[in-house]
């Protein structure tokens, strides 16, 4: 696969490490009343869709950026790539 890095252009997926669902950015608040349940759902439950999937890739053999890649899990087509840091900031983290 080829990931079109927002800063560096197309790079081979072999340079990247995969983590999983981009919701892992949304780490719950530990002080929340329902924190036990929220952390359980955060860490363990997945939508695991067939189709578009936002997911985290780390450019370990590159610029060390974490990326949020929107990819189709059936065709493997990549629809969008963003810097995870910006996604995280935009989501209010």
């Amino acid at each position: 696969m080829i990931i079109d890095h927002p800063l560096l252009g197309p790079r081979d997926a072999a340079e990247f490490v995969y983590l999983g669902d981009a919701r892992l950015i949304n780490r719950p608040d530990w002080a929340s009343l329902d924190a036990d349940q929220e952390f359980y759902e955060y860490l363990y439950l997945r939508d695991n869709p067939e189709g578009q999937h936002k997911e985290l890739w780390y450019h370990e053999q590159g610029d060390r950026s974490w990326l949020v890649v929107t990819r189709n899990t059936f065709t493997h087509e990549i629809i969008n790539v963003e810097l995870a840091r910006e996604v995280a900031q935009n989501s209010g983290r």
Partner: protein, 416 residues
Amino acid sequence: MMKYSVWNILKQGLRGNRDWPLMWREPAPQEQYDVIIIGAGHGMAAAYYLAKVYGVKKVAVLEKGWLGSGNTGRNTTIIRSNYLLPGNEPFYEFSMKLWEGLEKDFNYNSMVSQRGILNLFHSDPQRDAFARRGNSMLLAGADAVLLDEKLIQKMCPFLDYDNARFPVKGALWQPRGGTVRHDAVVWGYARGADQLGVDIIQNCEVTGFDIQEGICRGVETTRGPIKAKKVGVSVAGSSSKVMAQAGMRLPVESHVLQAFVTEGLKPCLPGVITFGAGHFYVSQSDKGGLVFGGDLDGYNSYAQRGNLPTVEDVCEGGMAIMPMIGKARLLRMWGGLMDMSMDGSPIIDKTHISGLYFNGGWCYGGFKATPASGYCMAHLLAKDEPHPTATAFRFDRFQKGLMIDEKGVGAQPNLH
């Protein structure tokens, strides 16, 4: 029904093989069943045991494609019970025992071939971990032998002992491990279940559940609605998709695992060999092909096909440990959908919806579990409680902190 035997082969052969009967019926779905099982892999085994052991007669198995089109027909055919943890080992040993009696049980030769499985290790810490595992196996009534380098050299003279980057220090050997002809398992169970009256319905995809007031009363399918008192789901890589129709999110990701086979070669491998310092395992089929595999491609996928880096990685592992296979040609590569769970272990459990049962999260270890998985699923469906060897495979173990994490890599499915 015709019993299969050498006499029948001779008889039919002399008649020009013109009178072989259908191996199973092709019934239309009835309106209502006692139990519907979705998915004809583990599900077929479940239906077989449900009918045979638990006496439930009105059973249907729904398969969205052709029989064996799922993971039962696309794996590397290995059976073993070399697990470490108490939640796992007795279950897989139960499965192994069922394999050993399977052919007589359903009068079909699925070529259970117990030529042993060798797990090579390359360092002292690996040896210690394998020793712990081997002792677990023995305590659970399975078989295990710790081999030193000399014994391995005798058994496998073709491994790289002189020039290896990670020298072989020893191996954990399970003599009863081996391979089974995977397609024949599907066919054998199907024939067996069919003879017990189970309706096998191919090309019948489930499109929804009939759930009212928290009770599941049947399914919607591409061949119309079918009612049932109980519905069991065992659809491997499609688990999340199917259970989403019941409104459930699972602790599961679907990943692609590639497998490979070479051209036919004269016998050159004794059994199954796994390489502990790279991602590679291999056996040789009765037809002569080297059947091998390695790691997941590593990203969520429903594509049933993989990419080149994994192919290279697996072949590198192969060449590193057995450099004699350099001129064996890779003939076919294929990909299966793995329902990778969050701790690498399966789930066989009721759901919060009454009448809806789930069996999945088999990761890439589902094939070897087929008989026990089917048996335990049948037990659960029939008795509404887990089979004694499958009590740990519950949904709530993640909430309770009772994960069964053999590899110790945590909640990251692509690492299991």
